[in-house]
Symmetry: C2
Subunit: 206 residues, 2 copies
């Protein structure tokens, strides 16, 4: 079995790789990682070669492949199930977005309280269910991630319900900030941030 110190280092490599990936870096050398983590490049190469990851001389490691290896070594979850609460315009756009399936997020439940929507079928045998069935379905289908695309005033209540059903993480698209207990992860998305960033770039480019 893997020593605790090694698991700890592997986790640090993984976090470091995730940051490189988010910044668009597809290749990384042990030296680059070592600089970020303040450890010896030789320690990194030693750990990784123990698990069969050898990198390419002069090229380094492929970031994604290395992350996949570490996910396997650490037994990390790679395939994720999610549900959408509030299947309006935004909810539907998310339900139909191929980018999510590509990133291994599988939609396993869709909920609404609008009677004219309940019972309507979406792709892949998924049927819009009444939000009354939220907790039961999360448990039955072992759904890890809940997506909130309802009007803001219902966000906290629905978040609480998903938390009580054992959800691992919530993605909140509503304009209202929600509070979750510390064992539940939360991502809040606001597209106006990207508009601001664009406006900022235009301003400094004029």
């Amino acid at each position: 079995n893997i020593p605790k110190a090694t698991i700890h280092r592997l986790t640090r490599y993984y976090r470091c790789l995730e940051r490189f990936l988010l910044n668009g870096k597809s290749n990384v050398s042990s030296k680059e990682m070592a600089n970020k983590l303040n450890i010896k490049p030789s320690q990194i190469r030693k750990d990784l070669s123990y698990f069969g990851e050898f990198g390419k001389r002069g090229v380094g490691y492929d970031v994604r492949e290395l992350m996949l290896s570490i996910e396997n070594i650490l037994g990390m979850k790679k395939n994720w199930s999610f549900c959408i609460v509030g299947i309006g315009n935004l909810g539907l756009a998310i339900a139909n977005y191929p980018g999510l399936t590509k990133a291994r997020f599988k939609l396993k439940g869709v909920f609404d309280n609008d009677k004219s929507k309940i019972g309507i079928g979406l792709h892949d045998d998924l049927v819009i269910q009444s939000v009354n069935e939220l907790e039961k379905t999360i448990k039955e289908r072992k759904i890890s991630i809940g997506v909130l695309t309802v009007p803001g005033k219902y966000a906290q209540k629905l978040s609480d319900r998903m938390v009580s059903a054992g959800i691992d993480g919530i993605i909140n698209f509503t304009p209202v900030r929600v509070i979750v207990p510390k064992q539940v992860m939360l991502e809040e998305i606001d597209i106006s941030i990207s508009f601001r960033t664009l406006a900022f770039q235009i301003n400094l480019n004029l």
Copy 2:
């Protein structure tokens, strides 16, 4: 008139403040800014007090207010007009999102090629127009930002058309990357990145 060196420093302060803002910081001291910019805190205080910004002893400056002041001093654009091309599920969700109006982005044009949608009115006297009128409307209404929410295969062509009409920036929601000339700013949004980030946090929390 403002010396070029001062304008240059004000622009650097502005970029620095934007980064603080994006990281959720609402107050900043001249010392904190000076550290980031490698200049003397006294230079920052001198520049800002010249324009009537004095900060609060012990508290520093309010980040947003200071950014607003610099926007005024430098004559930066604060109110932005945008158009949406492709008024499907995602396009509609964006058209109805109050967060954008709050951040001073005003929707001034909506386009589609679906005959059953053209002519339909949205809020605020906005009518869905044929995408044939895209360039003409961008010019007539001086629209600065174009939002792409069409299927990926039309993204580049529509981007080119908006660029030729003089658009300043594009926000691309489609799964296809677009190419723009260097004087046009580009923001590409992919919500699966937030899903990945959430999954990453859940993994490291287990």
